[in-house]
Amino acid sequence: MPPDAYQPGRAVRRWLVVAAVFHAVAMLLVMLALVRLTPVTMTFSVGAAGGLLAAACGIFLCGVTIGLRRRHIL
């Protein structure tokens, strides 16, 4: 398949939306701590946001890997 003709499948797109939501929530938690640092916002911005961001990046990189394999680049 030529690289430009590759269309991500529906499942890949759904996972991308999930990753985008995780990513947005993580960034909002970080912004909350940047605006007002308290023990609770610190815990969420470092702990919960870290987990969400790791999950979002993991999903994104899995999607990239799947795309590259389908295009026979990997």
């Binding site: 940047l34 994104f60 795309g67």
Partner: protein, 209 residues
């Protein structure tokens, strides 16, 4: 909460990185619902997920870990208001207030006396902080507040032990071994005054500030 010099710029940079990351990822995700993915959208996702978001996260984590040492941070829990109020009282004769008022400890006064020195001192302090957050927000706590375990005299000795005026006191020399192991406390008895008012531990002045 006041920033240390230079931290305001880092805070703004992290905030802008957060907004940019959300914008790029949202734009690429919403715009690319069908058809082949455009290269520009691929780059937006890559920069949003892998560059800007981790950058913003790390900047915030650095600011948060540094900011968590401030007295204002400790005072953000209302149960600490009584302690900090006494700390800031120029007429207070409690040990912590004296250290604060005379700047015997220049900055981060709560953290300096309530975290251990050495490699794992900061790590232990962060774990203790997580425990405090849990009990304060979900688990509940009992009044009067009590320090967990025995206060480690090494936190005092790091500054005081090398000082000649400390070494010249006969009691310090006589009890050196038990002071070093914290078997004999620096506080109470015929030694030094209490670090904090008892009313603060009972939460009586918690609503005052």
């Amino acid at each position: 909460m006041t920033d240390e010099p230079g931290f305001a710029a880092i805070r703004i940079a992290a905030f802008v990185a957060c907004l940019a990351a959300i914008g790029l990822v949202a734009r690429a995700t919403l715009a690319q619902r069908s058809g082949p993915m455009e290269p520009a959208h691929r780059w937006m996702l890559l920069i949003g997920f892998v560059v800007l978001a981790p950058l913003a996260y790390l900047l915030n984590a650095g600011l948060a870990i540094s900011g968590a040492k401030s007295v204002a941070f400790c005072n953000s829990c209302h149960v600490m208001h009584g302690y900090v109020k006494d700390l800031q009282d120029p007429d207070s004769e409690h040990l912590a207030a004296q250290h604060f008022q005379y700047r015997w400890i220049n900055d981060h006064q709560c953290y300096t006396c309530h975290s251990d020195y050495g490699l794992f001192g900061d790590v232990d302090a962060k774990i203790a902080g997580l425990r405090h957050v849990w009990f304060y927000t979900l688990g509940g706590y009992e009044l009067p507040l009590k320090i967990r375990g025995t206060y480690d005299n090494q936190r005092c000795l790091v500054c005081h032990a090398p000082v000649k005026s400390y070494q010249e006191i006969a009691e310090h020399e006589k009890n050196a071994a038990t002071i070093a192991t914290s078997a004999t406390s620096c506080i109470g008895g015929a030694c030094h005054v209490a670090p904090h008012p008892k009313a603060a531990a009972r939460g009586e002045s918690a609503d005052a500030s």
